[in-house]
């Protein structure tokens, strides 16, 4: 058992056109920038993958990461709670031009739909969004005198996340608030691909400290010193780099 993969290119080689892809991160925190950029490299070389449905809390910031994926025209639909950011122009322009679809989901409902997808629960009832525009067309049921909206699970063909430590079995830890959606997305992806900042031998993570057990992980690729989206945006970075 060894889930390590040598290169980012190999890690993302199997993602086909039309795939649904969950991408970890809340804003830049936890965003697997190098995996996303490897997907862009493949698209620029081969024309695939395209027509992706991307599930993330946001819809990109600036011109790197998810924003760069959208800028290349690889994304058909975003499923997110908050498609705004410090610099949301890439998504905004395409959305207002009718070139990209948006499924807007309240943040906690997004998290629970992903958790449900990973846990084999096809639907659940939540108080969130009852009586609002975002509940339109959804079944409502009363429990103990309160009304709840039925929401369905979310699953993905592939999940791309960033973790801090990862061992050969795919056991993972995360760094601070970069954890956010990654543990539940790891559960909800048919194939979960993880960039880890440091790959360790089995036993290199104390069992007590494992946050995501390796059963939810299919592949890990080591990316030491990963880029931070916020730092890239403060430097006005573009991916791929804009030639002066």
């Amino acid at each position: 058992m060894d889930k390590r993969i040598a290169t980012l290119a190999e890690a993302v080689a199997d993602i086909p056109d039309g795939a649904t892809v969950m991408i970890g991160g809340f804003g830049g925190s936890g965003a697997p920038i190098e995996l996303i950029h490897a997907l862009i490299d493949r698209f620029l070389a081969t024309g695939s993958p395209k027509d992706l449905t991307v599930i993330n809390n946001n819809a990109g910031n600036g011109h790197v990461g998810i924003a760069a994926l959208i800028e290349q025209g690889m994304v058909r639909k975003m499923v997110c709670s908050f498609p705004r950011s410090a610099d949301p122009r890439v998504f905004t322009d395409r959305y207002l031009a009718g070139e990209i679809e948006l499924e807007l989901v309240p943040q906690g409902t997004l998290a629970e739909r992903i958790r449900a997808g990973g846990a084999g629960i096809p639907a659940f009832f939540t108080p969130t969004s009852f009586g609002t525009d975002l509940a339109k067309g959804k079944p409502v049921q009363e429990f103990e005198g309160r009304s709840y909206v039925m929401e369905r699970w979310l699953k993905a063909d592939f999940t791309l996340i960033k973790a801090e430590l990862g061992d050969h079995y795919g056991n993972l830890t995360y760094r601070m608030a970069a954890r956010n959606f990654s543990p539940i997305m790891a559960m909800a992806g048919a194939k979960t691909i993880v960039q880890v900042t440091r790959a360790v031998e089995p036993g290199g993570i104390e069992p007590e400290n494992v946050i995501t057990p390796g059963i939810f992980v299919d592949a890990i690729v080591e990316v030491p010193a990963p880029a931070q989206e916020e730092a890239l945006n403060r430097a006005n970075a573009h991916y791929p780099e804009v030639q002066a």
Binding site: F26, G27, G28, S29, G30, N57, S81, F82, P83, R84, S85, A86, P88, F91, T92, Y95, L96, L102, L104, V105, P106, Q107, G108, T109, L110, A111, E112, I114, R115, T126, P127, T128, S129, F130, G131, T132, D133, L134, Y174, R175, M176, A177, A178, R179, N180, F181, S182, P183, I184, I211, Q228, E229, E230, A231
Partner: protein, 223 residues
């Protein structure tokens, strides 16, 4: 009309109602100011929905760690005893009734407790974030707001005209002119700024103000 409270003074007043040890979520923007005004001897534990309990002040510029941010994507620091958790757990804390209070901003609040604070209409790109989750589950949902809009229209109304965030969810409103509870589908006036007559307050309120006891002057220092 009598001087109204500043945003900082509204936040100060709301902070006086937070018990020691309470778990509290502060909405992005103006409600974040509440953290600065905790009374001496009381310490709340602040929750931010991206997955942190027990965060503190912003770090000094240049010392930010971008893996350590709040729901507004601003850099934060940790207090001793802080905890990290994933998003599903974070919203379990919200919907599961584990927060003592969520303190939010508002475009409109109705006397029924309905809240509109996420969308001003169908233009542009819609974005909801955690707004619709935060209004459910906290034992109390408090709103901080100017009493009227920039063009003088009431924000406390009989029925919200903007898209709803939640139905029957708000329990108390702290405005620039008053403290109002929502009970049984009514606005119940608790406090108002000194020197403001009841008639003048009612004139800028879009639904009937009720009483069930004496109305105190809001006692707020310059902050």
């Amino acid at each position: 009309m009598t001087a109204k409270l500043s945003n900082a003074q509204i936040a100060w007043r709301a902070a006086q109602d937070i018990a020691d040890g309470a778990y509290v979520n502060l909405g992005i923007g103006f409600p974040e100011m509440v953290a600065k005004f905790q009374p001496p001897g009381r310490q709340a534990v602040f929750h931010t929905e991206n997955g942190v309990l027990g965060f503190g002040e912003a770090p000094a510029p240049g010392t930010e760690d971008w893996d350590l941010i709040n729901a507004g994507k601003k850099a934060i620091t940790l207090k001793p005893g802080a905890a990290f958790f994933h998003h599903a757990d974070s919203f379990a804390m919200v919907r599961g009734g584990h927060l003592y209070v969520a303190i939010l901003g508002a475009y409109q609040v109705a006397e029924t407790g309905d809240l509109a604070n996420w969308s001003t209409g169908p233009k542009g790109v819609p974005a909801v974030g955690g707004a619709m989750d935060l209004v459910h589950g906290a034992k109390r949902v408090a709103v901080l707001t100017d009493h009227v809009t920039k063009d003088g229209k009431p924000k406390l109304v009989e029925k919200c005209t903007l898209p709803l965030t939640g139905v029957g969810c708000v329990t108390r409103v702290y405005t620039s002119l008053a403290v109002v509870d929502i009970e049984d589908g009514h606005f119940v006036l608790r406090e108002k700024v000194a020197g403001l007559s009841f008639d003048d307050l009612q004139a800028v309120t879009g639904a009937k103000l009720h009483f069930d006891g004496p109305v105190a002057d809001i006692d707020v220092p310059e902050v």
